[in-house]
């Protein structure tokens, strides 16, 4: 078992002929993900790596392949359109890897995708992997191993670091999800925690946060109120200096400075084990699962 993607996931790659899209499409195919089609306007009818059919539009690709998920590697100025095109084609699960999507674009995309009933992961995220079943995005497959732990993170390479240390300690994963660090993203910590709570095979969850915003604090409350499985966490940015903040609106809107100390305190108060170093996640998990 796993969350969001598994061996039955039939994946499209939007931007499959681009530099990043083609590189990662190959990696995903090698990992065993079912890549059923690609989309690049103007290259419809061609084949990627002589096997994967390419289409001009997402709607056509869905009709021909029965895809139920898509991953987006298009340049930032076109990413909003690509996400909406995928939602319009009723793809239930949309992952956007693209970094640098303007946040005002995302205010429109978020509403659009939700109204069409799709789930969006990202933008500016590494995607997700259910080890041994399916990899969607850019998380290196070889650092993961199947097992009972769910992982959700706002970061990219820090996720790899923690997964790597877990795998070295023989603690495998059901699914590792990178939700991305942008101010507006489609899937948040709570969405993933909820899914891990429901997933029969997941027995414990790791949550990796960063400074900024209040998502981690909200997630910690959710853990206390709604979860039966143990959750441990790490927050990056304990030594980050206070910024030369402009204006007051940021502090007024959230009533919080979003510091690591605040978040770690919220973890502690709500029964989420707090790792001081990334490596401590492993010990906390061992203790929590005993």
């Amino acid at each position: 078992m796993s969350i969001f993607v598994d061996k039955n996931t039939r994946l499209l790659v939007q931007g499959i002929t681009g530099r990043d899209g083609s590189f990662h499409a190959k990696q995903m195919i090698e990992y065993g993900t079912q890549v059923v089609g690609g989309v690049t306007p103007g290259k419809g009818g061609q084949k990627f790596e002589e096997k994967v059919p390419i289409f001009n539009t997402v709607a056509e690709a869905v009709k021909q392949t029965g895809a139920n998920a898509t991953v987006i590697y298009v340049p930032p100025m076109f990413a909003a359109d690509a996400m909406m095109e995928a939602a319009d084609a009723r793809i239930p699960f949309i992952v956007c890897i693209t970094e640098g999507v303007p946040v005002l674009d995302m205010t429109r995309v978020y509403l659009y995708v939700r109204e069409k009933g799709s789930r969006l992961l990202g933008p500016n995220c590494p995607g997700l992997i259910s080890p041994g079943e399916s990899k969607v995005g850019i998380i290196p497959g070889r650092i993961c191993t199947p097992g009972p732990i769910g992982l959700v993170s706002r970061s990219g390479t820090l996720t790899y670091e923690v997964v790597y240390q877990m795998t070295r300690a023989k603690m495998g994963q059901t699914t590792c999800v990178g939700i991305g660090g942008d101010p507006i993203n489609g899937t948040n910590f709570i969405d993933c925690l909820e899914a891990f709570e429901k997933d029969a095979k997941t027995t414990a969850v790791v949550m990796i946060g960063e400074i900024g915003g209040t998502d981690e604090q909200d997630a910690a409350k959710f853990v206390k109120e709604k979860m039966t499985k143990p959750v441990v966490g790490f927050i990056a940015g304990q030594t980050a200096p206070p910024g030369r903040r402009m204006g007051h609106a940021g502090a007024i809107i959230s009533g919080s400075a979003g510091t690591a100390a605040e978040k770690m305190q919220a973890f502690e108060e709500n029964g989420v084990g707090v790792a001081k170093r990334p490596i401590d996640v492993v010990d906390l998990l061992k203790r929590a699962m005993r």
Binding site: D20, P102, L104, T159, P183, A240, A249, S254
Partner: protein, 381 residues
């Protein structure tokens, strides 16, 4: 990207928001002659990318042109949050009856642009928000429709009982929303929004932060960047496509990815050291980036040891290794170097380093401990 008050005011004016005139001076003498041209009392305001200007002595009243020269001279000598003041805005002092606050920001929680207005504006607005939250009214804007007239009026009536003033405020808020969207902003703020004794509603201050991701499609806004008011090393890093923030410690850090970079800094501190910087070389690597990163870090005389922490995913560790070798050949290091790398093409990277007389570690904690020991001169634990 932050823009200056005078630049934000220019944008607001273009959208019709009533703002008193003002001119920029870079010397005390210029400030004096601007004050003379206005006559009467003026305000001299530091133009710097930092909050808390007033409290830092960066905003002063001057009753005469001579006084304007004197306060401008003092303000131009100031450093506010480490940033030197290089420009002042000179503007006629307004008669103020009341001070309100109006701001708009992209809100993570509601995933929309949210207006916040308060009749209790001024420099203590954050305290107002914390202690008397009922004095703040929020309104999330549906991006498909923008700020409608009736919505703007609800906000206007929250600010002012007088219908004329409420209408004037509503108009300003719609203009502020238009300026916000057209500039690709993530924050726009008027604090204070004042009423004059004759009942006019005008904006006395302006702040705007632009979403960096918008700059490619908004060249006019991108042109507002004032590099002279930024840290030199931060400008160099941006030009090299690196994210860099200078800090006060002595362990220089080169990392791929912001989360891992922060975690590395945290670990430096955990083992008793102090990071000299935050530096993220980003996802797709090339050797050139590493060369630039090393150049920027070694230009800081405080750095006593350099730590690379690279977890190869998209980043190929052999690219990083090649960059390190090239950089050192061009410019031999005067401080010790600790390299931790693992992930994509790790075997090739190790071979490149060994052939060039360098070595690398694979464990993050061990590498950080070693770098801290080298920087502080203590023994490696």
């Amino acid at each position: 990207m932050n823009i200056h008050e005078y630049q934000a005011k220019e944008i607001f004016r273009k959208h019709g928001i009533p703002i008193p005139p003002g001119e920029i001076a870079i010397t005390a003498e210029e400030a004096e002659s601007i004050a003379m041209s206005y006559g009467g009392t003026v305000v001299v305001k530091a133009q710097v990318h930092a909050g808390g200007r007033g409290k830092a002595g960066g905003v002063k009243l001057a009753k005469t042109p001579e006084e304007a020269r004197k306060v401008a001279r003092d303000i131009l000598k100031l450093k506010i949050k480490d940033l030197p003041v290089q420009k002042v805005l000179v503007t006629p002092a307004a008669d103020i009856a009341t001070e309100a606050y109006a701001g708009i920001i992209v809100d993570r929680a509601s995933k929309k642009a949210v207006f916040m207005v308060s009749p209790a504006g001024g420099i203590d607005i954050e305290e107002v928000a914390a202690k008397t939250p009922d004095k703040i009214l929020r309104h999330a804007v549906d991006p498909r429709y923008g700020l409608q007239g009736f919505e703007a009026m609800q906000l206007g009536f929250f600010l002012y009982k007088d219908v004329k003033q409420a209408r004037a405020a509503a108009k300003i808020l719609q203009q502020l929303y238009a300026a916000f969207v057209a500039s690709g902003a993530s924050l726009a703020e008027i604090n204070p929004l004042v009423t004059t004794p004759t009942g006019e509603v005008i904006a006395l201050d302006a702040k705007m932060v632009v979403d960096d991701n918008e700059l490619d499609r908004l060249p006019e806004i991108a042109a507002l960047r004032d590099e002279s008011s930024e840290e030199r090393s931060e400008v160099a890093a941006r030009e090299a496509n690196l994210t860099f923030i200078k800090l006060d410690g002595n362990v220089g850090c080169v990392v791929n990815g912001a989360g891992l970079a922060m975690a590395t800094m945290d670990l430096v501190k955990y083992y008793g050291g102090e990071p000299a910087n935050f530096l993220d070389i980003g996802g797709s690597s090339n050797p050139e980036k590493v060369v630039n990163a090393l150049r920027i870090i070694t230009s800081d005389p405080n750095v006593k040891a350099i730590l690379f922490n690279i977890f190869g995913g998209i980043t190929r560790t052999d690219d990083v290794a090649n960059g390190i070798v090239t950089a050192i050949k061009e410019n031999p290091l005067k401080v010790p170097l600790v390299i931790r790398l693992t992930g994509t093409n790790e075997e090739i990277a190790l071979k490149i380093l060994t052939e060039n007389g360098l070595s690398a570690m694979t464990d993050m904690d061990e590498a950080v401990k070693k770098a801290v020991a080298l920087a502080t001169g203590s023994k490696v634990a």
